[in-house]
Amino acid sequence: MNLSEREDLPMEAIRTLLRARPRVDLETDCPHLMTVALSISKGASESVRRSASDHLDTCETCREAVRLFHGAESVGSDMDGGGPIAAAEPRGRDAPVRTLHWKVSAIAAAAMVLAVLSVLLFPSRRTSETEPGPEQQLLLKGEEDRFFVAIGRGAARFTAEPFERLVTGDRLGMFYSARRAGHLMVVNLDSAGNLSLLYPAGQETSAEMRPGTRISLPDGAIVREGTGCEWIVAVFSEDPLLVSDVNESVRQAERRDSPCTLDPTIAKARTLRVLPFTR
């Protein structure tokens, strides 16, 4: 048919085409999607987040929905206020909320003195945009490796979010989730470029890591005086890595102070988790 020619279309043909326009029927919608949505809303309670996280462990439909949500949000737009999850705003401004639990017992027996703390970004969402996303990121079981920092501040216990503001005296505990065994190392970088090995303390290579969910690390930290941006970098790998090599790579990584971003490239790392903090 030559589209440039005039064609008399019966009105019924137009009506038929309108009726036949495609429709997305999500017959597999999970009734718990509401809980999942609530858990990424501002002000969601810890119990809701826990419930959503537990549900996500067993529901591919909801996991896919969350993956799509974060993927679309990370592209962002002015109209819906989206932005990269990796550059999310601090809590209190629709920042991502973690669905992690923090156990008091996770605070390490060995305390380390930190000059500065770095914030940890979840790198899979990093884009060139810097506007923060309005809603939090759910961590999905099934993603390769995850790393979390828990904060003890006075009597309060909570899980750190990207760009969390740290206070001198905060006690930090760390834990991870991984689907496969491997090795793990955690380092800290301050705004002055000082590096500290957080885990495994005193060792020269990364430590063996077993697969599991929310496994506490034996080492922890106490926050000391500092200013500016800080980052904690968790390096997951199949084989042990030298602390000196990782330190060098992190030291050379591109970093910015507004917002606090660090983009390391570490050879032979299977996953990098970078959590930014502010002082």
């Binding site: 589209l3 020619e5 008399d8 009506r15 309108l18 036949a20 799509l68 737009s77 809603e135």
Partner: protein, 188 residues
């Protein structure tokens, strides 16, 4: 009308709540769909379907109004992405055409060639006209029901749909070069 009252009203089928809900959330959901689908016509379809399905079905599963905003955003992204990734849109339309009209394969093939044209011409209609057409032809709603959702009397919706169909007909019958000009009488 606050969130709790709105959700309670929707659950009861209150017309004012339906209107408030539509006016409040269509403008939130549509841009998300448009960003993903890059097509005003398709974005309208997905947004309308989502809001209509929510009001008529999913609202009863909503136990906490605080989840509404995030839920609608999440579903908009999910539905729009699913729509975009459909690999057999023409096939599904062919099935629809055959099922509803008993059209023969030649007619179906011909009508399918009109799909891109229809999509373009729909995109040139006003947002309200697109919503009305979708609710009428996609959801088989009466003019009264449509008016309760997007606003307007039964008579207004009837005129809107009638004029929109005429505009679509003119647009689709026009040679390609003048198609945009033919839509200058689009109903607003």
């Amino acid at each position: 009308m606050d969130g709790n009252a709105l959700v309670e009203g929707l659950k009861k089928g209150d017309n004012e709540s339906r209107l408030v809900f539509w006016q409040r959330y269509y403008e939130e959901v549509y841009p998300i769909c448009a960003r993903i689908l890059k097509s005003p016509a398709n974005a309208t379809d997905v947004a309308v379907d989502l809001l209509s399905d929510f009001m008529n079905h999913y609202v009863h599963q909503l136990s906490d109004p605080g989840a509404l905003h995030a839920y609608l955003r999440m579903m908009a992204i999910r539905r729009a992405t699913t729509y975009r990734n459909r690999s057999a849109k023409s096939v599904s339309m062919a099935v629809e055409l055959e099922d509803t009209n008993g059209a023969n394969p030649e007619e179906i093939a011909h009508w399918l060639t009109l799909v891109p044209r229809l999509e373009g011409c729909l995109g040139a209609l006003s947002p309200k006209a697109r919503q009305a057409l979708r609710l009428s032809f996609g959801h088989h709603q009466t003019h009264v029901e449509i008016g309760h959702e997007i606003g307007g009397s039964k008579q207004y919706i009837g005129r809107l749909i009638k004029q929109s169909l005429k505009a679509l007909k003119r647009c689709m019958e026009s040679p390609l070069t003048s198609r945009t000009d033919r839509m200058d009488e689009v109903t607003r």
